[in-house]
């Protein structure tokens, strides 16, 4: 059979999804596919565009798997804009004059940002926010600029404003409507949202129309609003989008009154040979400015082309959640309560900054819509209730009650199989269950098998919940093998090492593993050896197991140089020692920063400089701070009774005592401690793995707190302990954690996975229910007694020092390091700066 020619115009998010849908349906056996892409890059993640400001890595946004086009014999023409379609002849013409024939044509040209007709809207320094090129231009303009303004306070405008703010500009949002996100959020929610955005440092001008943009006096532009004005250097228009339907209009396909190429349920336009999908398409009088409906259209269009399942597009849910760091806003379904007879339940707590509204059907049984500002943690549950028309579990008011007031709204179990879990990729709970039946045992597996949680990520928690409950139902355990070389969990290996007294990797591998080891098992085993036997980490048998940070006793930075962190127990430091740090930093021109852990980090030391730097520090009485190891890091303290009028115990002395006791302790992940001198808790001890808070009678001990990615408050474990009781309890606790935790599991996560929870921990540690207490204490005593400063030991050993050089055959350092001075210190050049620095 002769293949038909299929042309796809536009290779954006939906275009790429369409190609994948076609491949999945074996469509490439029927069609020869050519893609004409107006941009210079294959499809990338526009939803995640804002990440580019911080990551500056276009490749990371790519949506096109490498080798995809080649593997499927698809021709992709980049930088190729189509200028005309001849429907009679069935050809398209590109801007460079090339003409291509088609049997089937698919339009996926997306939309373009609407720029309101304001005088001066085309001045240099005015931008839109749609492509990587737009962002590059904004980044460039932001350099040297002080003020930025976004015209438009919708979902995208706020994202752009946050980005400008993060680029260091004084940022303004100018919105014509009386409130932000007017489409998604009601009046009360809008008011609270405005407070939150302003608290981030962004000024909001609502109800403000820009009449003209002219030359400014202090800044590049002046935005004129009647009798007021605002001066700014950079302007971003984010006033909505319009379907990119120019081609369709020119060849007289039917388009909507306000734009958009009209399609039927199979995405077919008024010409049966042409389909349209994504933001350019108009279905049932609506265009959809979100990616999920576009993806559904892509699937339907491919179904139709391949003559499969008459699925048909059926409209899509427009619920949204703002992806702004620091502000929770979400809107679900009928957020404005415009369904006849609907009633609302509202909760407002101005001091906590939380507003929630649930819109319920007249019968009070179904959720129709919701607005959440300040706390969107129930978004997933509410969305499910709404999308699946699940009967409300109870009183509608419970839906908006403050967190913790009632039971969780919905568990994964309560959802029907048809429940859509990932709306971006249209994955139902049933589809996840099928993938689990087919062998998926982790979120990563589910992501690659079903695509769930791979777009906006909003559904990730729910996907995990479904996975966990389904695995539990099947009586399955998650595979916790360390890696392909050891079919054991970390905990099991720890026991084998300890019980059999194994102290070399080769021996362990020979007895319990296979192959050569890898970057997962080697550092884990090195850490197990360290917590069992506490040998010096750079002995030749152990050296090859250490991650580079442990191998060079310093943290590697993005340019391959290292940071140096001397220990400052409890954060207490003498002026003389501070001066030494300053002198060393100055001598080696090290970028110097006070860390979040009450000490000083010196960045930019070359590998060959580390020994010299450390010999100066060691000579002045400093020790390694183990900032490089999965080990005890810092004990943060407040000043306590030594100076503070409220202090009830000497928190600094206790912090130093703890830090010196546990320094160098290797563990499954890092361990942080905090000691506060009274209940005001200035040391934030309740966010640490171990938190100690002074009481009139002694110390309260808190355990298993965490800052970082998933903060968790520590829980009160024991009260009013004296000094010795405190140390003994912490000894036991830490050793029990080291024995039983998984690889890279902080105490918080370990605690949550412990069956029996805190009560069980209390039984083991305080009541010695397993009869382990003595052993745990003895083990800790061994570690405490065999402590050595790894840097001091290393400096005494000529052999070991040999490894601190960049080349084995040449004494010179790495000759390709490049730096930029900023705020009077140096930092590694970014790739785009390196080009200039190195070539000049």
């Amino acid at each position: 059979m002769n293949k038909q020619q299929l042309l796809l115009i536009g290779h954006g998010m939906v275009g790429q999804r369409f190609l994948e849908a076609l491949v999945a349906r074996d469509g490439l056996s029927r069609f020869d596919v050519t893609v004409l892409c107006g941009e210079s890059r294959p499809a990338y993640d526009r939803v995640g565009l804002t990440r580019y400001f911080t990551e500056r890595d276009a490749d990371a946004l790519s949506l096109t798997p490498s080798g995809f086009m080649e593997a499927h014999g698809i021709t992709l023409k980049l930088d190729t804009r189509v200028s005309g379609i001849d429907r009679q002849a069935r050809t398209v013409t590109t801007e460079t004059g090339e003409r291509l024939g088609y049997d089937r044509l698919v339009l996926a040209t997306g939309s373009y940002p609407f720029v309101p007709p304001i005088d001066g809207n085309d001045r240099a320094g005015c931008f839109v926010y749609r492509t990587l090129e737009d962002l590059d231009a904004i980044i460039q303009a932001a350099e040297g600029a002080r003020v930025g303004a976004v015209i438009g306070g919708g979902l995208l405008g706020l994202e752009a404003a946050k980005a400008l703010h993060d680029l260091g500009l004084e940022t303004h949002v100018v919105e014509f409507a009386p409130r932000l996100m007017a489409v998604q959020v009601d009046e009360m929610g809008g008011a609270l949202l405005r407070e939150k955005i302003e608290a981030l440092g962004v000024t909001v001008h609502a109800g403000t129309g820009t009449q003209a943009i002219t030359d400014g006096e202090q800044h590049r532009h002046r935005m004129v609003f009647g009798d007021r004005h605002l001066e700014t250097d950079v302007i971003i228009f984010s006033a909505g989008i319009r379907p990119q339907d120019t081609l369709a209009r020119a060849c007289e396909l039917t388009v909507g009154e306000r734009g958009g190429v009209m399609i039927d349920d199979h995405c077919v336009t008024s010409d049966p040979a042409i389909q349209a999908i994504g933001e350019v398409a108009l279905w049932s009088e609506r265009v959809f400015g979100l990616v999920a409906p576009g993806y559904q259209m892509a699937e339907c269009a491919a179904d139709h082309l391949c003559g499969q399942g008459e699925s048909g597009f059926q409209g899509a849910d427009m619920s949204t959640k703002l992806k702004l760091m620091g502000v929770d806003v979400a809107s679900i379904g009928d957020a404005h309560g415009s369904t006849p007879g609907s009633r609302s339940a509202v909760f407002l707590d101005q001091s906590a900054g939380v507003y929630k509204k649930a819109v319920v059907s007249a019968c009070g049984k179904k959720l129709l819509g919701a607005v959440l500002v300040g706390d969107a943690s129930d978004y997933g549950d509410l969305l499910q209730l709404c999308l699946n028309s699940i009967d409300l579990p109870g009183d509608p008011a419970a839906l908006v009650a403050p967190a913790g007031a009632g039971a969780p709204l919905l568990g994964a179990d309560a959802l029907p199989d048809s429940a859509q879990i990932c709306s971006c990729n249209n994955v139902s709970k049933g589809a996840l269950c099928q993938a689990i039946d087919a062998g998926c045992t982790s979120v990563a597996d589910l992501k690659s098998d079903t695509r769930a949680a791979t777009t906006c990520g909003g559904c990730a928690t729910l996907v995990k919940q479904v996975l966990d409950s389904e695995l539990a139902k099947r009586g399955l355990e998650v595979n916790n093998h360390l890696c392909e070389h050891f079919a054991y969990s970390r905990q099991a290996l720890y026991h084998l090492v300890r019980v059999e007294g194994i102290d070399s990797f080769d021996a362990l591998l020979e007895r319990y593993g296979e192959g050569d080891g890898c970057d997962l098992c080697k550092p884990t085993v090195a850490s197990i050896f360290a917590s069992c036997w506490n040998q010096y980490v750079l002995t030749p048998e152990l050296a090859g197991l250490q991650d580079t940070n442990d191998y060079f006793l310093a943290n590697m930075q993005r340019d391959g140089t290292y940071s140096v962190v001397p220990r400052v127990p409890g954060g207490e430091i003498t002026p003389d020692k501070l001066i030494t740090i300053g002198q060393v930093a100055k001598k080696y021109d090290l970028y110097t920063k006070i860390t979040g852990g009450q000490r000083v980090d010196l960045f930019g030391a070359r590998v060959d400089q580390l020994p010299a730097i450390w010999s100066e520090l060691v000579a002045a009485g400093f020790e390694s701070g183990h900032a490089y190891g999965k080990a005890m890091r810092t004990v943060k303290s407040c000043v306590g009774s030594t100076w503070c009028r409220y202090g009830v115990q000497d928190s600094v002395a206790m912090a130093i005592r703890l830090e010196e006791r546990y320094r160098g302790l290797r563990s499954p992940h890092k361990i942080k401690l905090g000691v506060s001198g009274c209940t005001r808790e200035c040391a934030e001890a309740q966010s640490k793995d171990i938190g100690v808070i002074a009481t009139e009678k002694g110390w309260n001990l808190y355990v298993c707190g965490n800052g970082g990615m998933r903060p968790r408050h520590a829980e009160l474990f024991a009260s009013d302990l004296d000094d010795d009781q405190l140390l003994r309890t912490i000894d036991r606790f830490l050793m029990f954690y080291i024995r039983t935790a998984d690889r890279l599991q902080r105490t918080s996560v370990w605690r949550e996975s412990l069956e029996g929870g805190l009560e069980y921990l209390r039984e083991v540690i305080l009541d010695d229910s397993l009869g382990l207490a003595d052993e745990l204490e003895a083990q800790m005593a061994h570690i405490v007694d065999t402590y050595q400063c790894e840097w001091k030991t290393t400096l005494q050993d000529e052999e070991k020092l040999k490894r601190f050089r960049h080349f084995i055959n040449d004494a010179t350092p790495d000759n390709e390091l490049a730096y930029v001075r900023e705020r009077e210190q140096r930092r590694p050049a970014y790739p785009h700066e390196r080009i200039e620095l190195v070539e000049s």
Partner: protein, 128 residues
């Protein structure tokens, strides 16, 4: 893919004629790597547990830093690899191929042992 801005392209012509002594075998701790300066290039030289030697680019195409010699050695599905110490991509020691991204491949250099001396040839091996 990556702009090889600083890497001066190695000469591709010529055969393996320029063996260059680099160090003694015992100077490399088994199952670790060292950096080597070779004419205009930086090379990462590895010695495995069973004393096999491998030489690849030291330049990590993902971070643009010259750090691969400081990566951990291991194996993935039976292939010997080094893991970048920065972002943990794995490169095959024999072919230079990146396991995570088939489009990226490092140059591989011939190595040999002459007595106890390790020698590397300046012109890279060409694959595929």
């Amino acid at each position: 893919m990556s702009e090889t801005i600083i890497d001066k392209p190695a000469s591709r012509q010529g055969t393996v004629d320029t063996w260059q002594p680099v160090c003694r075998l015992e100077e490399i701790v088994p199952e670790t790597g060292v950096g080597v300066r070779l004419a205009q290039r930086q090379v990462a030289l590895f010695r495995t547990r069973d004393d096999r030697l491998f030489a690849l680019d030291n330049h990590d195409p993902f971070s643009h830093a010259n750090v691969l010699a400081r990566g951990l050695l291991g194996s993935v599905a039976g292939r010997r690899v080094v893991a970048s110490p920065l972002y943990k991509q794995h490169f095959c020691l024999e072919t230079g191929e990146c396991i995570e991204d088939a489009e990226v491949r490092l140059q591989v250099f011939p190595v040999r042992l002459a007595g106890d001396r390790v020698e590397i040839a300046a012109s890279p091996v060409r694959h595929g």
